[in-house]
């Protein structure tokens, strides 16, 4: 019988062995990019609540091919869903804000244009968005309509051939730096998507200040004051909530993986700290209470990672259901937050310092728990799927 490979504390279940060489190569490229260009600086960005050179960052991300990486053509890499997941994991191990930038650009803005747009819209925007030469945002949430976006107030009216768009969008990632916004609005026929160049008259974006979470990410409020758009600004291939929800499915899938990355980073810090910090004459990792925390974290990370890979494989086979993505998002973000909090206790006072990544991840994960469908919404999705009874209304 072959000898079992050595135990790796960072991969206790040997999940790496389930990956192809290309999967690992993609993962390694993202890991290296983050280590060189983001990880050394991200705590400072978080502290300042700003991304000093978001365009340079986007070009770097575009250079390795991470923006819209699962899409085919138009300068996109055309990778598998598993490979996209692995990239999200590494990005979010660095910072959830970095993963948010990539999710919004690729899974929301680019995906919407790729899936529902005209050939002209794709040619105009996708190559630049893929290269990181342009930034995109995605406007669904409004000040008064979050979990229930179907009741949105933003609307688009026909005026001759043109469309005139009015309303407000809230909590929009990349909003004030975007070159193009995919905006969802009510029309006579139902909810429709619009491709809005952000330099169109009547479009304005203001950053949301005083965030205590996702501080290394730009979040904005958009106002649309009679924004006049040509007839061909509408996404032709979808009417109704199916449009925005399909895109959200893509981004949620990325979060299933990303949250594992944030959890891994917290675990890594806690493990290292537990081995080296001494109290009562011994490393704190020698105490049973600390070991129980570490073991529980490792177990939950392993389960979450396997769940992500399972959903990724189903997605690549075209067999994943929205309820299954909800399952993954609910579990993995919930566990990631629990792990971040537990890791924080192991670091003691250092756990609240930005010198370590833990409190940053912990705060970030509060946003991740809420956006792309709150944990309550995903619970209700699963509840409805199980019982056949709708508890939303």
């Amino acid at each position: 019988m072959a000898k079992a490979p050595a135990f790796d504390p960072m991969d206790p279940l040997g999940i790496d062995d389930l990956l192809d060489p290309e999967d690992k190569a993609i993962r390694d490229t993202v890991r290296r990019f983050c280590a060189d260009h983001v990880t050394p600086y991200v705590a400072e960005w978080f502290e300042r609540g700003a991304l000093p050179d978001v365009r340079e960052l986007a070009r770097g991300l575009g250079g390795i091919g991470v923006l819209g990486m699962t899409l085919d053509g138009y300068g996109c890499a055309g990778t598998s869903a598993v490979q996209y997941g692995l990239a999200c994991l590494e990005l979010e191990a660095c910072d959830s804000g970095l993963r948010s930038l990539v999710s919004v650009q690729g899974s929301l803005a680019m995906f919407a244009i790729h899936r529902f747009g005209t050939e002209e819209q794709r040619r105009t925007w996708l190559p630049r968005l893929a290269a990181g030469e342009a930034l995109g945002c995605y406007g669904l949430t409004e000040p008064d309509h979050g979990s229930d976006p179907a009741s949105m107030r933003t609307h688009a009216k026909r005026d001759g051939d043109d469309w005139v768009l009015s309303g407000r969008k809230m909590w929009i990632t990349n909003g004030s730096v975007a070159d193009v916004a995919v905006i969802w609005a009510q029309t006579e026929d139902g909810v429709r998507g619009f491709v809005v160049p952000t330099d169109t008259a009547g479009f304005a974006a203001h950053d949301i200040k005083h965030k205590m979470s996702l501080r290394a990410s730009i979040t904005s409020e958009l106002t649309l004051d009679e924004v006049r758009l040509p007839a061909d600004a509408v996404l032709p291939d979808v009417v109704g909530m199916r449009g925005p929800l399909t895109c959200l499915g893509e981004a949620r899938y990325g979060i299933v993986w990303g949250s594992v990355g944030a959890a891994r980073s917290c675990f890594e810090s806690a493990l290292e700290y537990a081995r080296t910090r001494e109290q009562f004459g011994r490393p704190i990792g020698a105490f049973q209470l600390t070991q129980a925390k570490l073991a529980d974290m490792a177990v939950e990370i392993g389960k979450a990672h396997l769940l992500a890979l399972h959903l990724g494989r189903r997605k690549d086979a075209g067999a994943v259901r929205p309820e299954q993505i909800s399952f993954g998002k609910l579990n993995n973000v919930r566990e990631a937050i629990a792990i971040a909090r537990e890791a924080r206790t192991i670091l003691g006072a250092n756990g609240i310092s930005l010198e370590y990544p833990v409190i940053r991840h912990m705060n970030n994960l509060e946003s991740v728990l809420t956006y792309e469908g709150t944990s309550e919404m995903h619970t209700l999705v699963i509840g409805k799927a199980l019982t056949g009874l709708d508890a939303f209304h």
Binding site: P21, E22, A25, T29, I64, A77, T79
Partner: protein, 265 residues
């Protein structure tokens, strides 16, 4: 023009590396990867093509089955195809034997320019490029911090120019192609394999060769034919605590004394 880049699959330099009982490198207990110093050679080959020189880039490695990982990584960075020389009889081959295998494979493939890293990150001998040039009978331009190429092909001719930073002088060196060059880690950061590169690498051709294909007898290589062998190896002792000099007015003298005792001054 045809550029051959020699790359080596080595135990990860950040791992806990060691030797086997027979003095050969232990390849079991540490994961292996493309030698970091060869990434600079790959980067320079890609830069030469990007500078407008029309060239086909072939990567060449001599190594076990897993060494194709190094070729895949190189191909993901760019370039056209690769050659993997793999034979059970190669295990234990020293630099001299390796240069023989490389030279035969390069002659078989055809070349205008061979680019190597300055050394491997495992054995760190740095002699293979010079041996290779001798065996191929072409000029060697080694340890370059900067390299440029002009010209077209075997027939059309061309030159390679480079800058070598020495302790006392900077040398600007030029050789007619075909030639062998080696480049240092100061030539500029190597690129990351992009996702498109990684996906494209799957479709690039890797030719597998053994000693027979190269007309090399098994007794010309391997541990028994090696001219240099590792007799014994001793693990470096764990780093001792540094010496703290308390400055009570004599600090400078004590420091100088310490450095002199270690023959630093």
């Amino acid at each position: 023009m045809k550029i051959v880049v020699c790359v080596k699959y080595v135990p990860d330099a950040t791992g806990d590396r060691g030797f086997n009982d027979d003095g050969t490198t232990d390849r079991e207990s540490v994961d292996s990867l493309l030698s970091e110093l060869d990434e600079y050679a790959i980067e320079q080959a890609l830069k030469i093509v990007e500078s407008g020189v029309e060239a086909e880039i072939t990567y060449l490695t001599v190594g076990p089955d897993d060494a194709k990982d190094a070729l895949r990584k190189a191909l993901a960075m760019g370039g056209d195809n690769a050659i993997h020389v793999n034979d059970d009889d190669i295990a234990g081959t020293d630099a001299l034997g390796t240069s023989l295998i490389l030279a035969k494979a390069i002659e078989r493939a055809g070349f205008d320019l061979v680019i190597c890293g300055m050394a491997s990150t495992d054995a760190s001998m740095g002699v293979v490029p010079a041996m290779l040039a001798e065996r191929l009978g072409v000029p060697q331009v080694t340890y370059l911090d900067e390299v440029t190429v002009e010209g077209t092909t075997v027939k059309g001719g061309g030159t390679v120019k480079g800058r070598r930073e020495g302790d006392v002088a900077t040398e600007l060196i030029e050789a007619a192609l075909p030639a062998v060059v080696s480049v240092t880690d100061r030539t500029g950061e190597a690129r990351y394999p992009s996702f498109k590169g990684i996906m494209a690498a799957k479709k690039k051709n890797v030719e597998a060769l053994d000693l027979d294909d190269l007309g090399i007898e098994s007794d010309q290589v391997g541990l028994s034919a090696a001219w240099s062998i590792v007799d014994t190896a001793t693990k470096r002792p764990p780093r001792a605590k540094g010496e703290v000099v308390e400055d009570e007015g004599e600090g400078g003298v004590q420091l100088a004394g310490f450095l002199a005792a270690k023959k630093f001054i």
